[in-house]
Symmetry: C2
Subunit: 250 residues, 2 copies
């Protein structure tokens, strides 16, 4: 049985204010919850229906305790239009910049604001072997429910840092090349990358901000193949990030 | 002045039912509206604030008539959380399969359901020179307001067809290679494409459906570069579409 107070407490995590105060966040759906409980992140609550448990109990770590809930109760807590039969509360991981691996590449996000874009970028980074993402402090928090949803479990594998990008890039530029996408950059396919480069993706509307642009050492560009003069002016930020990470590996 | 009846009429276009009945759809925001009125699509209404008109009147075609509205009135009609100062009603274009160009590639969407994904795919197709998209009848309509928003004006340049994909692919397979992404396909970078290929992108959850998979002549795969065994299982559909179109041009 779950109490009304507990339902109300968990539901507060829809709001950033309460996520910030408690350092907790919501995770919904089978794929995301199973990735969470089998990761290094801490889970404080796992709520599931009996039916879900029957199907998935074998995939849960032994030490985890599950609170049995009804579909109605899950619906009351869920952020989703079509709630699933499982939901967890996780502790926000606190990654520290000293944990960044020197021999791996870094994806840098300069002010990504859309929660869906952030989540899609984390999922794509996981696919392409980018295990560290450094975000400007103004970027959307990755524990936003829409972001967690869009990562499809990748939030549990990719380390996401928030910091002042100017200081960060100033420190890193001694040991890494810093790539950023610009309209007047070189074709990204023509470039030879090294193993531990930094790739910067800019804001959805404004691209890479001026103070960050000054720190880019290599300007790159995703070529357009439009057949007519009238054409798309830009790509969605998560699409640009994906193409840059794909080409980096090629 | 705009009447209350006119406001109510336009606002109905938030709903698919009324878009279907009227063959009209809503377009919001400066970029999308300017792309619309300067395209081959027909505009039936253009609503703008005086301030917007002062800034953008020179970019409008001469023959178009503008209904002056207040910000409050636009807010009442808008689908957006942060309404912009311009909004148009457009006539749904009726593209016919006989208009498909034999010498250009085709992007095929097998049951894309998310309006945002659909819009992002249209925008990316425009960037990469894919001017024709053929969708299964079950795919989300591209005139959904969230789709139009995500295309950033590209809805006015890319031709989007809806049809039965099995019959369509059966006809086209005589003259085009048909590529589809599968977990067991060949690395898409290793393939030599021809100019008029078909690239198929599958549904967000289920990928390419079985009856369509049978018609794929070349199975391709986007390689993952994850460093650990535990990794993302898949890419978002709009990300997969983008990488396939990018590689196709490379």
């Amino acid at each position: 049985m779950i109490t009304k107070i507990k339902i109300a407490e968990i539901k507060q995590l829809h709001q950033k204010k309460f996520r910030d105060e408690s350092d907790l966040f919501l995770v919904e759906g089978t794929k995301s919850v199973l990735d969470l409980v089998n990761s290094n992140l801490a889970t404080t609550e796992l709520l599931a229906t009996d039916q879900w448990l029957r199907l998935h109990e074998s995939k849960l770590p032994k030490e985890i305790s599950v609170l049995a809930v009804s579909e109605k109760e899950i619906e009351r807590i869920s952020c989703l239009k079509t709630p699933q039969e499982v939901l967890a509360v996780a502790v926000k991981p606190k990654y520290n910049l000293i944990d960044i691996c020197d021999t791996e590449p870094i994806l840098v996000l300069d002010d990504i604001r859309d929660p869906g874009n952030m989540g899609t970028i984390v999922r794509t980074a996981d696919w392409f072997g980018f295990r560290q993402i450094v975000c400007s402090a103004t970027s959307v928090e990755f524990t936003n429910p829409k972001t967690i949803q869009a990562t499809m479990g990748s939030f549990s594998r990719v380390k996401i840092f928030y910091t002042d990008l100017v200081s960060f890039l100033n420190r890193e530029k001694k040991r890494r090349k810093i790539y950023g996408t610009f309209m007047n950059g070189s074709d990204l396919a023509q470039i030879t990358y090294t193993k531990n480069d930094i790739l910067i993706v800019g804001n959805e509307s404004n691209g890479i901000s001026d103070d960050i642009a000054d720190l880019v050492t290599e300007k790159i560009h995703i070529p357009s193949f439009a057949l007519t003069e009238s054409k798309a002016e830009s790509l969605n930020a998560s699409i640009a990030a994906a193409i840059v990470m794909y080409q980096y590996n090629s």
